[in-house]
């Protein structure tokens, strides 16, 4: 119809979006690029994306009393080995995985039966319980971090894995989400299971759980992303004990321990921590976007 104006319009739209994309991608580009380059290249802002990868000497290695020929390496190797040597990155990552997975599993164990009861069982007080869930949805967890911290400190649980996990064990949002989902599951399915002599517990875990997989997946993505990235809560309850630190907290420690201009190793550590989620996101984009925006409903 208006082919000429359309071409022009299409072109200007793409240029606008491209300009935005460059700004959005800038820190990701820098993070990767710095993690490849030598300190001098970073300071002088030279060497393009990948740097020249000229052999450099590792001063720290020489200070440790090693002969010079053993301390020569490519900047990329230096940055990544230094990152893993100077900070217990592997430990941080394992902590991150342990904490996020535990939180998600406990959230499901608590939320699923509750959501089932709220949607499919009739009992006295059901509406009160549901009202309570809705009320709790209004409470932002950021806001009550301080009293939670005091309560944990009073029972001597700060600086433990329990402190990182317990406050998140209840997800009212998860209950709400699952309940809405179960409302759409036909009662016949449950009645048939009862006819077959299944108990209520088996119904929850063997009938309802499999039907809820799509909703659980979305909730899981939300939960894992939120807690892998969470810095606020670990910062409050973990003080100084590196064995307990999750990736963002560990990275923060790395930053304050850093002497001088250790940009390369620092950015290598950042890359190691940011990349896993980014890669999974790029592989399962649609699910991620759904899962995270669903929580917008929160």
């Amino acid at each position: 119809m208006y082919s000429q104006t359309n071409w022009l319009g299409e072109f200007s739209k793409h240029s606008l979006l491209l300009a935005g994309a460059i700004v959005v991608l800038l820190p990701f580009y820098l993070m990767l690029s710095y993690s490849f380059k030598s300190p001098s290249e970073i300071e002088a802002n030279k060497g393009g994306f990948f740097g020249t990868q000229e052999i450099m000497t590792d001063n720290r290695c020489i200070k440790a009393g090693n002969p010079e020929e053993e301390c020569l390496m490519r900047p990329i190797v230096y940055n990544y080995t230094a990152a893993f040597k100077e900070a217990p990155l592997v430990r941080y990552m394992l902590n991150g995985i342990f904490v996020t997975v535990s939180i998600f599993v406990i959230q499901v164990i608590i939320a699923l039966p509750c959501a089932y009861a709220l949607s499919k069982l009739r009992f006295w007080g059901r509406n009160v319980v549901f009202g309570m869930v809705i009320f709790c949805l209004l409470i932002p967890v950021h806001a009550i971090a301080l009293p939670l911290y005091i309560m944990l400190a009073k029972v001597g649980l700060t600086n433990t894995y329990a402190a990182l996990i317990i406050p998140w064990s209840i997800s009212v949002f998860g209950i709400f989400l699952m309940r809405q989902f179960f409302m759409t599951v036909p009662d016949d399915l449950i009645d048939a299971a009862r006819m077959d002599g299944m108990g209520e517990f088996s119904i929850v875990w063997q009938v309802m759980l499999p039907t809820a997989i799509p909703a659980l997946l979305a909730f899981g993505i939300f939960s894992v992303v939120a807690h892998w990235n969470d810095y606020y809560w670990p910062r409050i309850v973990v003080t100084g004990n590196k064995d307990l630190m999750t990736p963002p907290l560990g990275l923060r420690m790395f930053k304050s321990d850093m002497d001088g201009n250790e940009y390369g190793p620092m950015m290598a550590a950042t890359t190691v921590i940011v990349l896993p989620l980014v890669i999974i996101f790029l592989l399962a984009q649609r699910r991620f976007i759904e899962g995270i925006t669903m929580t917008g409903m929160k």
């Binding site: 939320a111 509750c114 069982l121 409470i139 009293p147 309560m151 209950i175 517990f201 606020y232 991620f288």
Partner: protein
């Protein structure tokens, strides 16, 4: 159905945890906000509303409210506008929409603390790329003329860009004139992709027929169709996006803690950071709890506004 007492086992743990971990803390905070409690002390005194009086009279707390409000007022409008703009552009594209969507969503996913540290390097006044790029434009006539405004007759040296070229470009995070704006920039960078996705979802629910109807009525230009159809039909999405972004930006913490620690001269002393500094770092739990309660009331008001409008299903 429902004869057995099995439901106790199903809802019991959830009720217990809700009471313990969500409802009790609100009361604990409310109670402690009227004391001078510190961890490690055996007792405490009831001091009534003294903490709240401090909160609303001392200058450092006035700075706290200013910082939080300024941050929200910077981040919300800009990130909502950018989110809407990006969504409109992307949804009207013939090809490549999915790609831009993924790129703009990337910051939402990435660990904010880590990306904040990268931004700090990028904004470093000496080795940072941002000032390097800005400086490199100073000796290129076209860019210089464009940014100083001298192409339409402005005095180049009086403009921000021109005078920065003469002297030097800002120490973004270390200058109290720029620090909060810089933190807000990172906040916008992180948040607008989230708003974009919400708007994209909103746009798919606008019925196609309305555009045809508008066309029949003589709304030919894209702007008129936007004004007549898209904008009003997005009513519920607007409310939702605005309240969600306000709540989220009220909770800013990671960037402030990692990059400025509330400084310079308290210009970035936002509420959640203040809560952390007073309550956790300085062990002043009374005043920390008072900030908690005020913060809770702010967020509650925002949430109630959202619930009110969403339930009425407003269409402007």
């Amino acid at each position: 159905m429902g004869q057995s007492k099995i439901h106790y086992w199903f809802v019991g743990p959830a009720i217990f945890l809700m009471l313990l971990l969500l409802i009790a803390p609100v009361f604990v905070a409310a109670g402690l906000s009227m004391t001078n409690y510190s961890l490690g002390n055996s007792g405490f005194d009831w001091i009534g509303l003294e903490n709240y009086e401090k909160l609303f009279s001392r200058r450092s707390y006035a700075k706290m409210f200013t910082a939080s409000l300024t941050y929200v007022l910077l981040v919300v409008p800009i990130s909502v506008a950018l989110g809407l703009g990006a969504a409109l552009l992307i949804s009207s594209l013939k090809i490549g929409g999915e790609l831009y969507k993924a790129v703009f969503f990337l910051p939402v996913m990435a660990t904010l603390l880590a990306m904040a540290i990268v931004w700090e390097f990028a904004l470093n006044p000496i080795v940072g790329v941002v000032n390097d790029i800005l400086r490199s434009g100073c000796d290129k006539d076209v860019i210089y003329a464009f940014f100083t405004g001298s192409w339409y007759g402005n005095n180049a040296l009086e403009s921000w860009y021109g005078s920065s070229c003469e002297k030097k470009f800002p120490i973004w995070l270390g200058d109290k004139k720029y620090a909060l704006g810089t933190i807000a920039f990172i906040g916008i960078w992180q948040a607008f992709g989230f708003n974009m996705v919400l708007y994209l979802a909103g746009l798919t629910s606008v019925p196609r027929e309305l555009y045809q109807a508008a066309h029949m009525d003589g709304a030919d230009s894209a702007w008129e169709r936007f004004k007549l159809v898209t904008w009003p039909m997005l009513g519920p999405t607007h409310v939702f996006v605005i309240t969600i972004s306000s709540i989220r930006s009220f909770q800013v913490f990671d960037t402030v803690e990692a990059l400025t620690q509330g400084g310079p001269s308290k210009s970035t002393y936002v509420m959640v950071y203040a809560m952390f500094e007073k309550g956790v770092k300085q062990n002043l739990l009374g005043i920390g709890s008072a900030i908690t309660i005020v913060f809770l009331i702010f967020v509650l008001i925002l949430t109630l506004i959202q619930v009110y409008f969403v339930n009425r299903r407003v269409h402007y």
